[in-house]
């Protein structure tokens, strides 16, 4: 927050921080996420293998032959693959979320601020898009273009853009109708200045929450596409790919499934918990409460 909105808004953000850190469950989420991020960053440094390196140790259990978490059916080191998988998941999710939020802020902002036929057009388009189940969009995109990194990103943006757009639209419309915006308009402030200075900052809190849920959603969708064979494919170290490949060993070598499976769950769950905590902390109605 910048100097000119100090006073009220500074204490608002302090209040938000206090309430967020008072929430034990979100702190647990934050801790798990931090650990996973550290693993993702330092995994390749501490590991002696690379994620697509084939070794002679086929399906050995954890802590055997120098493989901390064992190896998969091709003798690849699971620890290395999992840490690379976390990094891939997070990278994809962050890029997708960034693009989705940019699209959402611009389209939703335009629709919400100007209203009228622009709003109508954008809203009807969203209505249409919503009727299509998300996997179908992914199927269509990926079956037509194949599966490179950026195509997976495109498919995920196409499944995620409308919720950010819809939310930002609603948020802008709500803030727009507030009295102080009327007052700014009445005193002759330019439209661009109203959008950037008066509406923008106040429409941000809901975006932060959506940010968290979009990241979690993108990680989930990416793994779903990979599992179904329409996202990343072997030998890419995606958690979904690893889980998909582990299905044949569920009976004899369950760790091949449980390790990437639990990492994926911890990753999405930690972000969902943080998002939940943020939602409660940012809600002005809950202000002052614990």
């Amino acid at each position: 927050m910048r100097g000119e909105n100090s006073g009220v808004s500074l204490s608002y953000w302090q209040d938000v921080r206090q309430r967020f850190f008072a929430n034990k469950i979100s702190i647990i989420g934050l801790l798990i996420l931090v650990i996973l991020v550290i693993l993702a960053i330092f995994g390749p440094i501490v590991s002696r293998y690379s994620s697509d390196e084939l070794t002679a140790d086929i399906l050995v259990g954890p802590f055997q032959n120098g493989h901390w978490l064992g190896t998969d059916d091709l003798g690849r080191d699971i620890f290395t693959r999992v840490t690379d998988g976390i990094r891939l998941s997070l990278t994809v999710a962050l890029i997708v979320t960034l693009i989705s939020v940019l699209v959402g802020v611009s389209l939703g902002g335009i629709a919400g601020y100007f209203g009228g036929w622009v709003d109508n057009l954008i809203s009807r388009f969203i209505d249409t898009w919503q009727v299509i189940p998300f996997v179908l969009i992914g199927f269509a995109v990926i079956s037509v273009f194949g599966s490179s990194f950026w195509i997976v990103v495109l498919a995920l943006v196409l499944t995620g853009w409308y919720s950010t757009t819809r939310l930002f639209r609603a948020s802008v419309m709500q803030v727009k109708s507030l009295d102080y915006v009327e007052a700014a308009r009445a005193s002759g402030v330019k439209t661009s200045r109203i959008i950037l200075r008066h509406i923008g900052p106040n429409a941000i809190p809901p975006i932060i929450v959506v940010l968290a849920f979009t990241i979690a959603g993108s990680i989930l969708s990416e793994s779903v596409y990979a599992f179904l064979g329409v996202g990343f494919r072997e030998p890419t170290p995606s958690l979904g790919v690893m889980i998909s490949g582990s299905r044949n060993y569920l009976t004899d070598k369950p760790f091949v499934f449980f390790i990437p499976g639990s990492v994926l769950v911890l990753l999405t769950l930690s972000i969902v918990l943080i998002g939940d905590g943020l939602r409660d902390a940012l809600d002005p109605k809950m202000r002052g409460s614990k």
Binding site: T128, I132, P133, V135, F139, V144, V224, F227, G240, L264
Partner: protein, 318 residues
């Protein structure tokens, strides 16, 4: 609503037919084919025509109830659809039953006994389920209710059984009911948790209303107040989210069918998408979209049943 379905279908058509993507190599198996033969094949499927002509023919066939033919093996999409639909419909039916059971039990109990141990467990469960991908919970279910009981020789706990083959009344299996349990629960779980949460917060909101206090003050039994006064009013927002969540159930069903190797619509579409067999994907997608829109319409109409204050003609049905 029809406008939305039309637009969504057109969008799907555009995704598959306007974007470059060539179904012919599927038949030829990636070999290079002489240009004359290529032309013949294109003419056979009408792919040499302008997009707008293809689009017109697509709708003409659709109105005749013809969804087209697979590029891969010339099989009619209608037949492929019929095969997958029965499995998916049964799966969804049992999932819906399970979902309502779980959602209402969990939602009601955690609202009535707010702050109790049960409520706290329910909250953890409902948040936790959001972070678990469906295919992971499917595999977990297979492990804990299939692999593990098998290894331990606990046959009573083994629910990892084949999907039943014979049914009475369309949905009741003649034998092997255990085969339905896991897939149905896995499909149901995500939305059940979501609905339970909505129901809980909606109920807690309603409970603060004056008429609830009045009803208790009149000396009505708590059971009557809960079920007649509170639940009915709390249902309205829940029904709203139900309409939008029903579309997402398709994604859930695809993963479940894949995990449990069920020959349903979802796994059929997924396999066809991998092969770039566009007529099959498009044909099945239309059915899925129309079905989703139909359920949404029913949900919209049911507002009037739950809440007589809402008149149907005043609502925009979309």
């Amino acid at each position: 609503m029809f406008l939305v379905v039309w637009a969504a279908t057109t969008l799907m058509f555009a995704l598959f037919f306007v974007i470059p993507g060539d179904p012919i190599s599927l038949k030829s198996g990636e070999k290079s084919i002489p240009p004359e033969i290529l032309k013949n094949i294109e003419a056979k499927y009408g792919l040499d025509q302008p997009v707008i002509v293809q689009y017109g023919r697509f709708w003409k066939n659709l109105f005749k109830g013809d969804l087209g033919y697979s590029y891969k093996n010339e099989q009619s999409v209608n037949v492929i659809l019929g095969d997958g639909l029965s499995t998916s419909a049964r799966l969804l039916f049992w999932a819906a039953v399970t979902q309502l059971l779980i959602a209402f039990t969990v939602g009601l109990v955690s609202a009535i006994r707010r702050g109790s141990l049960g409520d706290r467990i329910a909250t953890i469960f409902t948040v936790g389920v959001q972070g678990i991908p469906v295919f992971v919970s499917g595999l977990l279910a297979q492990y804990f209710f299939g692999v593990l009981p098998f290894q331990m020789n606990w046959d009573w706990l083994n629910f990892f059984k084949p999907w039943p083959t014979e049914w009475t009344f369309g949905v009741i299996p003649i034998e092997g009911w255990r085969g339905i349990v896991l897939p149905a629960i896995v499909v149901a779980l995500v939305d059940a948790a979501f609905i339970a949460r909505m129901l809980r917060s909606s109920l807690l909101e309603v409970l603060r209303a004056d008429y609830i206090r009045t009803a208790f003050a009149k000396g009505l039994s708590p059971r009557r107040v809960w079920l007649h006064h509170a639940l009915r009013n709390a249902l309205i927002p829940v029904v709203t989210v139900y309409g939008t969540s029903i579309i997402a159930i398709f994604g859930v069903a695809v993963q479940t069918e894949k995990v449990f190797s069920l020959p349903g619509m979802g796994s059929t579409i997924a396999d066809a998408a991998l092969l770039q067999d566009s007529p099959v994907v498009l044909g099945l997608a239309i059915v899925v979209i129309a079905f989703g829109a139909f359920i949404n319409l029913i949900v919209d109409l049911s507002y009037a049943l739950i809440d007589p204050r809402i008149k149907v003609e005043n609502r925009q049905v979309s």
